[in-house]
Each structure stands twice: as structure tokens, then as C-alpha cells.
Symmetry: C3
């Protein structure tokens, strides 16, 4: 076991983080997973695709989920709900915008909300929150596992898991993969979470392609340095596209203050379009966490290398796998 | 088979429409149903009243519904949920106001949202949207059936189906029925959808009663002309009330820009009140898609001819019937 | 049977109230319960704690709940949902903010909404509403039981039931209990409902502790006088704390126009903090309906006398008990 694993619970390794202790199989931070966990996760997620397509099963019969969302979401909330229901479980309570419509509007702290909800006996709480560290805080006060469904601008660990599961399925391997992360890199939590997770693998090479006003944060670059991941920075996707196995495109996070024009080519070239398609390798893929606005042209959708809708479906299988790993005793 | 039927799928006839192709038993447009479909629908909806009153059944066990609502709704959303649950199915995911709280706020197109949701494996998507044509667009990109639960100001086909089911139950026949459609006719999607559906029957006569500022659209009147439906226009319900079997009252659609005063009798007479009750035939009925504001006086509620709450209950039976027709193999 | 009981239905006594008639086991008003009902409720709620901890059961299989909330809520809505699901029932339809997102926005009356929802065949409707009297109005038009989940500034009967259940569990008795109700007393519906319910018991003594601008209403004080409950009023919790078995703290209801500074000690002393803890009896408890803002210091949480999170969990057991009493035939 790595020296910095705090403990192992039901097959989930918990790494040492400085902010809080974990006494439960919480999913908090993309850095917490080791390769043994990831290997098991990939196997179960692959099984889950079969389960999802055969129809529902009863694995989580009588298990209940609370969805506590302080930020809007379609796909994350829907895919967790679908995952729970496909496995025979139930959504006990879901709030789409806890900030506006719940006791948070009356000034309640997250820790109080978590303690109260735990008293109602759910089996797992799925949390989305606008503040960094919210999942750690929730985990400190929760008597049931917390799954981080996106917090602040830093972490979205279940997205990272479905993303590398997609790379494995589509490219065939993660070790040695060459990936371009493109767009609004300073504000996108998916590219940060993915970088943390890719740092676990060997021989990964990352090209960060962004305007200078939204480059990947130094903390992530330092993390990659410590984990021997080669990375380069660029402002022109056309230079990078011919060499990579994966183009991971992202949306401009206007709700986090980002704003730059893709049409202003003095900033660089960040749109996936016909020109980029023509430059890409024949067996490379295009990923996107979605929602997309205009950063991938519609005409790209019909190209077989456009993997983003398949990636979204992998979100269902990945979340089914996580729920199975967290909520059922290890066989 | 009529020459303009594109194809038949699980007993649902799909008529030729110019906007899109249908590969699934979608419910998109009140014009798509033929008399054979309607006859089958009426029989199943009648059965469903019995099923609903006996308690739940397991017909749709393990089937799941997504409710994607870009506009607010109480009764349509609740009745689809009730229909699904009464038949043993489940709501996988529901959003009350997708425009505000989902990825639409981040600029995602409807077609992307539909493709992602389909990847989560629902059996049917119920869509309400503020734009005309949204259901057609959704159907083009969906791998599961789409049910139009109200789009733009044009279509509300499941409301039209429950409305003519109500006429059949209450009046005893649809051929030859005399119906007054009253109120804000230019903006109400129910009166438009109903007109389309009534155009399938023989000998129907329609009186459109509205202020001059909100008359029924020419497109509907042309459609009725082509289908040999007699119609007249009026501004005074008192002249029409004595002759009709059904008064179909509607609400002023303030959220679509309509505004006229019912008290300004220079515009006409559009309120169903005691005066109108006294003019009506003894076996006529008053319908309303609800919600009602002030266009039917409260004192009318206790009259046995007030059919609008019975009509709302028929909404449950109609939607149960549609779900059965779409989601179960034809016996 | 007491002379002012209107009727008994499935073991629930309905007392004479002047506003409306009850034909169903509605939970409308904290005054409606007699001691026989309360005794049965306490026994069932105690059983329900065991049921909740063992996992779900099938007692309410095929039963459905509508949650019609015109005001935001986390804990009341979540605990009713949890109670229904723990007992094997289902949520048919829930709306988080009916005022904004439902047909109420189009001007529909509560009575119309209730009549329509009843047509969809739920087994019970849980209502939260901003107006006093809303639950009585709903009950008049409903064909299924209504549970008042908080209306106006007057009534929150299920909170009152869980609160006295908490006193019974924690203190061991309700007769003779000495309780301080603290904070924004003129606007808090829990302290009003609790006062009504405590008036049923013998030897209860209440200290109302509030700033002069938010004293308990005269109607409640007159009710207590008629029911021989001793009460006093104070502006300083430090004087009261040493003598009471229960400190029932409440939040300033800013959404109802209340605003006073706890730091302005010319108004009095209303915060539960270390100073108050040191004054309290060793076996006294601190309750709070939650959410809390700053009226109980965080440092109080770790004291064993801090009963408010246990009280929240009792909300689950109390609501399970009520659903069992309303929805199952009496054994």
C-alpha cells in the first residue's frame, strides 16, 4: 500500500489529504484513487454497461440517495439518478438549487444541512456545491458516504473517472496516452480533476491549449511535475491536433467570470472544427464533458471520432459502478 | 391505410409531416392521429380509469420516464408522473424549469440535451418547451419516444386527446358535436390542438368566441376548411351558448403577451357565469384545460354541467393510455 | 369522547374548529389532537425509530404522496419524502416552489390546484403554504387527507408533534415540563404550534424569552390561560436558563420581516452560548426546529444537552408515524 494511503474501506483507498479525515468510502477528490481502485472501477464500469442495457436490476433494492445540489446540473444529476434507479435504488430527496430554495436561503451552514439529512437515513449523499472544499466539509459531518458531484472550480472526481474510463474504452490504454486539454483551462474543474487522475498513469503527455488569460493553474502543473507527467502549453490547437490521441475540449465558464472570443485569432485557435478534424489522427477521439456551446462545430458530430455523446453514456456506467462499490459489500 | 401515413409503429399511425422524420412512436402533433388510433386510444383510456381506481399495477415495471420541462407546469407534469407511477413505472429525472436550472442556462441546445439524456437509458422523454417545433427537433435526435407535453403556442397533443376523450365520455359522441371555443384563441395552444383533432371527425361545428384582438389563427381556419369543419366567429358567448354541446373556455395567456379585460363589454362577452349557465342546454358541458383565473365564475363549479375537474381526471387516464400504447408491445 | 370532538376517523380525533369541516384524517392544526391520539402517536413514533433503522418496509406499498410546497423547505420536505419511502410508499409529484413554477404563477387558486391533484389519485397531500388557513382551505376541497407541513405564521402541527415527542424521549415526561421558548416569538410558527400542543398537558410552565418587538401573540397567551398553563415573559435568557428543562431556541424569521440584533443587549439576551450552557441544569436540553443561523453558537453542538440534531431525526420517526396512522387501517 502506498505510504500516503490513510485507510482502505470496502476496496476504496483513501489517500492522505490535509483538510479532513475520512471514515467512510467517500468520493471527494480525484487524487484519492490508486491504480488498484481504478482497475477495479474499470472492470465494474464495463459490467455496468451490460446491466444498463439489459434493464434494471435489484442490486441496490431499498437503498436511497439524497441529491443535494447547490448549483444547477442536468447531466450529473440525471446520470446519478439513472444509475441509482437502474440498480434498483431510489432517490429519497433531490433539490435542484439548494442555494435558492432550501434552508441555505435562511442562512444554514452546509454542515448543519448534512447532519440533518443524515438523520433521515439515506445511504449516500451526492453533493454539488459552488465552493471548493464543500465535499470535504460535508464528509467531516456526514454519517453516510458523500459523493462529490462537482465542487468549486477545483474538483469533479466522478467526471474524471468517467473521462479516463472513456479514454480506456476508446483508445485502448491510458498509459502513454497523448491528450490535448483545450479551452478555458483556469476555470474548468474537469480538466483539473482529469490532470490529477492522469498523473497516476505512466508516460502520459498533456498539451494544454488555451488563451494566455486562461492557462492551467500552477498547482496542477506542479502536481504533474511531481508525478513525472510531461506537459506543454500552447495557444494553437492546429499545432497540437496532429500528434494527440485525445482532444479534450471544454466550454468557456461564463458563470465563473471567463470570457474570451474564439473568433479573435490573435488569442489563438481553440475551436474543434473541420480544419482540426482534417489534422487529427484517424484513430484519435474528441471528448467534451458537455454542455457544449460553440467550441465544437455541429459538423463534427457525425465524424466517428466525435466521442462526446458516448462519453456522456459512460457517465451512467461509471456512476453505477461507483454506487455499487460504495453501497454493496465487496464480494 | 391513408396515403399520407408515413408508417405504423406499435399501433400508432405516423402521418406525413413536412418538418421531420419519425422512427419511434412519438407523440408530437395533434394532426398525427388517425381514427383507428383514436378508437384504440378511447378504449384503452376507458380501461385505464378502472386501473387507476383499483390502485397501481405493474404494467410498466422497470420502465423509466424523463420529464424535461422548459416551462412551468403543475397538472401536465403531475399527471404524467401519476400515470407512470400508477402503471408501475418510475420517474428517472424531472426538471421543473430546465431553462433556468439546467445546462440550457449554459447555452446547450435541445438536441444535445436530448442525446445526452438518451444515453442514460430512459424509456420515454416527456418534453414541454416554449418554442414551436421543439418536440419535432427532440424526436429527430432521440433514441426513445418523445411525448410533446406542450410546445410553443401551437401544440399540446396530449391535452387534445384528453379533451376529445372527455367530449366522448360526457356528450356520448364526437361526430356532429357543436363546440364553442372561447377566450384568448390566438395564443392558446389547447384550442389549436383541439381544432386539429376535431377536424378528423364528421359533422363537427365550431364557434370561435373571442375579442377581435385574439381571434383564431388563419392557419387553423384553413385546416378546418380543408377538413370540411363548419366554423363561425363571434364576440358574444351569450349568442352561442344556447346552441352548443360544449363550451370550451380558456385562460388569457398573459405570459404570451395577451391582455384584454373581460369586463370591457365593448370587446364582447367571454365569461362563463350564471347568465351563460341559464342560456345553456341542459345536457351541455363546460370544459376548461385549467388553470382558471376568472374566466369561469366560482358559482358555476357546483353545476353538474361543469365538467372541468372531471376533464382534469381524464388527463390521468389519457396519459396512462398513451404510456401503455407507447411502452408495451401490442397484444 | 370529549364534547368538542367532531368525529373520529381511523383513530384520529377531529376537534371542533370553527373554520371548516373535516371529513378525512387531515393533520391541520396542533389544537386538533387529544391526549388519546398523542399517546398512540408516541407509541407508533417510538416503533418507527426501529423500523427506520432496520431499513425500509412495505407498509405503504403502492401508496403515493403529493408534496405541494408554496414555500421553500429542506427538512420538512426531505423528512416527509424519507418517511414515505422508508415505509415503502412513493412520491408521486413534488414541487419545491409552487408559487414560482406551477400554475399558481398563472393565477390558479389553491382550491382548484387541490381538486385537480386529487383527480390524479394520490393517497395523501402534504402542503406547505405562506398563508394562514391554507391547510383548512385545502382540506375543504380535497378528497384525500391533507397534512399541514407549515402554513402562514401560525401552524406547523407536525413540527409540534415531533417537538413534544422529543421532549418525551429526552426529558422523560411532558406533564410538568418547564420550557423556555426563545427568540422571534411573534413570527415563529413552531413556538405557536408547540404552545397549543403543550396546553393539552398538566403542569406545563412556559417562559417566553424575546425582545419586546417580537413577543408571543395575545391569542396564544389567552389560549394558554384557558388551558391553565403558567407562563411568564422575559427578555433575558440568563435569568431563565437555570430553571428550565428545555430551552427551545428559534431563528429570526427575516423572510417574515423580523430583524433585531442579538448583539444589542439593550434588547435582552437571546443567544444560546457557553454562558447559557454554564447556567443550565445538567439534565436539561436545548432544542431548535432548525435551520439555525447564529442563535446557537457552534461550540454548543458538542455538549450532550444539544438535542437539536436528535430532534431533527425524530422528525423522520414522527412523520412515519403520522403516515402510518393516516394511511393504514387501524389494527
Amino acid at each position: 500500500m502506498c505510504p500516503n494511503v490513510l485507510f482502505q474501506f470496502k476496496g476504496v483507498m483513501f489517500m492522505e489529504l490535509d483538510k479532513c479525515l475520512y471514515g467512510l468510502p467517500n468520493i471527494i477528490d480525484a487524487r484519492q484513487f490508486d491504480l488498484e481502485f481504478l482497475d477495479r472501477f474499470f472492470k465494474i464500469a464495463t459490467d455496468m454497461e451490460g446491466v444498463a442495457k439489459q434493464g434494471n436490476c435489484d442490486l441496490l433494492h431499498r437503498k436511497t440517495m439524497v441529491q443535494l445540489f447547490y448549483e444547477e446540473s442536468t447531466r450529473t444529476r440525471a446520470s446519478f439518478a439513472a444509475a441509482m434507479i437502474k440498480l434498483g435504488g431510489q432517490i429519497m430527496f433531490a433539490t435542484e438549487n439548494a442555494k435558492l430554495f432550501s434552508s441555505a436561503a435562511k442562512g444554514e451552514t452546509l454542515s448543519d444541512t448534512i447532519r440533518v439529512l443524515c438523520g433521515y437515513g439515506p445511504d449516500v449523499i451526492v453533493l454539488r456545491h459552488n465552493e471548493d472544499g464543500a465535499a470535504e466539509e460535508a464528509a467531516m459531518f456526514s454519517s453516510v458516504p458523500i459523493i462529490n458531484a462537482g465542487t468549486g472550480k477545483n474538483q469533479h472526481p466522478t467526471q474524471a473517472l468517467l473521462d479516463i474510463f472513456t479514454i480506456l474504452k476508446e483508445v485502448g490504454h491510458i498509459d502513454g496516452v497523448k491528450i490535448a486539454m483545450v479551452g478555458d483551462l483556469s476555470n474548468g474543474r474537469t480538466v483539473r480533476s482529469n490532470s490529477y487522475l492522469l498523473g497516476k498513469f505512466k508516460g502520459v503527455e498533456i498539451d494544454f491549449v488555451s488563451p494566455k488569460c486562461s492557462m492551467m493553474g500552477n498547482d496542477v502543473k506542479e502536481y504533474l511535475g511531481r508525478h513525472c507527467v510531461k506537459f506543454q502549453e500552447s495557444t494553437d490547437l492546429r499545432e497540437v491536433a496532429p500528434h494527440v490521441d485525445v482532444i479534450y475540449q471544454t466550454r468557456t465558464q461564463k458563470e465563473r467570470g471567463s470570457d474570451f472570443s474564439r473568433d479573435d485569432h490573435s488569442l489563438g485557435y481553440f475551436t474543434v472544427d473541420k480544419e482540426i478534424l482534417d489534422l487529427m489522427k484517424k484513430d484519435a477521439i474528441i471528448m467534451h464533458p458537455l454542455p457544449r456551446v460553440d467550441e465544437i462545430d455541429k459538423e463534427v458530430d457525425s465524424d466517428p471520432r466525435a466521442a462526446y455523446f458516448r462519453q456522456a453514456s459512460n457517465g451512467l456506467y461509471a456512476r453505477m459502478a461507483l454506487l455499487k462499490m460504495i453501497l454493496t459489500p465487496r464480494a
